[in-house]
Amino acid sequence: MRKNNRELLAGYVDGELTEQERRDFEVELAGNPELRSELAEFERLKEVTGMAKYADLPDEVWESYWQSIYRKLERGIGWILFSIGAIVLLGFGLYEGLSGLYLDPAQPLWLKVGVTAFGGGLVFLLVSYARERLFAYKRDRYKEVTK
């Protein structure tokens, strides 16, 4: 079937053709059994989808819908403020703790080495994990598949 007929078929079923297009298509239809069979199939499909409707949500869900969004928005702002505060406090704590540790000659070397190893290991693990995730994502053949 020519591409044009496919488009016209869809438009014919949905009553979206102009008068001229409709007349031309009906002429084509009269001499094309394959097209008639597709038309019957599409009309049946239209009938079937016409039997169905989307399931609605209960009234109480709609009544509290906006409040629920409002709460989520408020919580979002709360989380942003909390995160900023946590980063600042954590950064300050780390700076104070580490500078106190490394700059204090009274602190034993084994403690400095231990803390350095702990911190370095943590960073190493995080980078390795992030790289693994990135690698897996890039090689995921189905990442664009939605079905």
Partner: protein, 182 residues
């Protein structure tokens, strides 16, 4: 009554009341749109709410010379795609094909309800097996009742593309219904 665009411009300044009005205006259509795309009521509810939160947060990037609906629809479609991808990873499948509860039989014709119920169950399953793009176009035309011009505006594609996408989506849907029937 303020236009949608005017409301988004108010939201840009942090006006939550304007967001509330926009929510009241579009909540049902947002939910139904998401429902058609993800095929699950709870997810559709969450996606529609998240879409309004995104509107609030991204209002600053909204171009007021553009209509609101296509912008909002893009947010819903993107969220639905991400949702399905996450769910597919989590459950190793796109959608719960056993969940036949999101499409119901229209009971305006009580005599035919039983026959219709079986057909709608098959339709339900077939729709969930379609690709995202095919389900999208079927949802917009068959279940949202949108005209080709409206769909073309919403998706930002030519009317001819709407027609050919509908043709192929319907062919696949009809084939899946036959397969599920066999």
């Amino acid at each position: 009554m303020e236009t949608d665009v005017a409301l988004v411009m108010s939201i840009k300044t942090g006006n939550k009341k304007a967001l509330g009005e926009l929510v009241e205006r579009h909540k049902k259509s947002a939910y139904r749109m998401a429902l058609g795309l993800v095929g699950n009521r709870d997810d559709a509810h969450d996606i529609s709410q998240e879409a309004f939160i995104r509107v609030y947060r991204s209002a600053g990037t909204y171009d007021e010379s553009q209509p609101f609906r296509p912008w909002f629809y893009t947010i819903i479609a993107n969220l639905s795609r991400t949702w399905l991808r996450k769910r597919s990873r989590r459950e190793n499948r796109m959608v719960d094909v056993d969940d036949v509860s999101y499409l119901l039989v229209d009971e305006r014709d009580p005599e035919k309800v039983t026959i219709h119920r079986e057909t709608v169950a098959r339709l339900n399953q077939a729709l969930l097996q379609l690709s995202f793009a095919d389900r999208e176009i079927i949802t917009l035309q068959h279940f949202r009742g949108m005209s080709y011009d409206e769909i073309a505006d919403l998706l930002g594609i030519p009317k001819g593309t709407v027609m050919s996408r509908l043709y192929y989506a319907r062919k696949k849907l009809a084939m899946l219904m036959r397969l599920n029937d066999a």
